[in-house]
Symmetry: C2
Subunit: 189 residues, 2 copies
Amino acid sequence: MARPREFDRKEVLKKATFTFWNKGYEATSMEELVTVTGLNRGSMYNLFGNKEGLFLATIDNYFDFIHETFGAPLRKAEGLKSIKEYFALVGGKLCKYGRGCFFTNSAIETKSVPEAVNQRVHVYFRTQHDLFAKCLEVAKKKGEIPADRDIQKLSSYLVCLTQGLTVMSKLNKQTKTIQDVIDVALEQL
Amino acid sequence: MARPREFDRKEVLKKATFTFWNKGYEATSMEELVTVTGLNRGSMYNLFGNKEGLFLATIDNYFDFIHETFGAPLRKAEGLKSIKEYFALVGGKLCKYGRGCFFTNSAIETKSVPEAVNQRVHVYFRTQHDLFAKCLEVAKKKGEIPADRDIQKLSSYLVCLTQGLTVMSKLNKQTKTIQDVIDVALEQL
DNA sequence: ATAATATTAGAACACTTATTCTATAACTAC
DNA sequence: GTAGTTATAGAATAAGTGTTCTAATATTAT
């Protein structure tokens, strides 16, 4: 039948994701993406349609990545322990690389980026919010937090915290500062 | 001598600032800036050198704007009252427009933006940090916060909070959510 | 009015952009 | 092998980019 592909879609997507993540949507050219992925220009357009399509694919790819990596502690839903584990993980990774969060970066650049991206980022924030809420429910049952605490508000607060850390980590790469903020913020629970 | 200018530098800068603020550095073209400012292309390059120079000028212009508008309550340094006033102001403005913070946006896009921008944003965050610290010192003296609280950590925490709010406000424009987060976050002090 | 100076309008330039096209090469089922 | 299919390499395209240049225009001191 046909000639087989010489590339791995997953691998191509991974490389494209890092490039977009580092430089943003506008500042990344198809030229660069072709070079960095090693993929042929024609195959690129065959697979993803156009730059926007490729970008959306990297966003989805990143969603899966986040879900696996950072969602894990929260999905265990073991109360405050899970939340602390989550922020330890996030804080560590943020400081280590200094790219921030691909979602946050894209959300910020979003005016120049398709509406579809906005929607996906929105779904992500809601997912994160709900995961926090579940952990807090458990924490309440365990008596780790007072029974009269408003879980919705606290979840929004934790989403906000994550975003703040994301931004700070891109500028101030001192691990200590990030850790300090996490410490202070979690005292609040 | 010479023919007088038909434009007001301040006014030009203001319009350029809003354009960059809305769309980001990369997504804004000189073509658009020329149209939006109504300024002649040649005069543009005469005044600011090039796109990067114009962008830096808008960043400086924004710094002054922020200093006047949002710095005011913090400079009064009346303890917790000032901090609450600050966040009420910030929360309100963030929700009203939905552009986020020009500094934050630029910091995030920064990989594709000159290093000079990075430095300015850095200065801004430090300034903000120090203003918070001063208010907290006063609060401590007034007995509004416990004497053993670490002011440096708390200040970093408040900077982080501001950034988080900034990001959230660009996506979730519900005023209530923003207000909820502020409420929860300030309980921590 | 004239000379000197600066601003203006917008054409022109060189380069980059995303995207499409074309011809060639590689593979498989028959 | 051959036919059919698909990936490949890279040239070609058309529009957009930041920037420079040129000529005309407006103003003021003399």
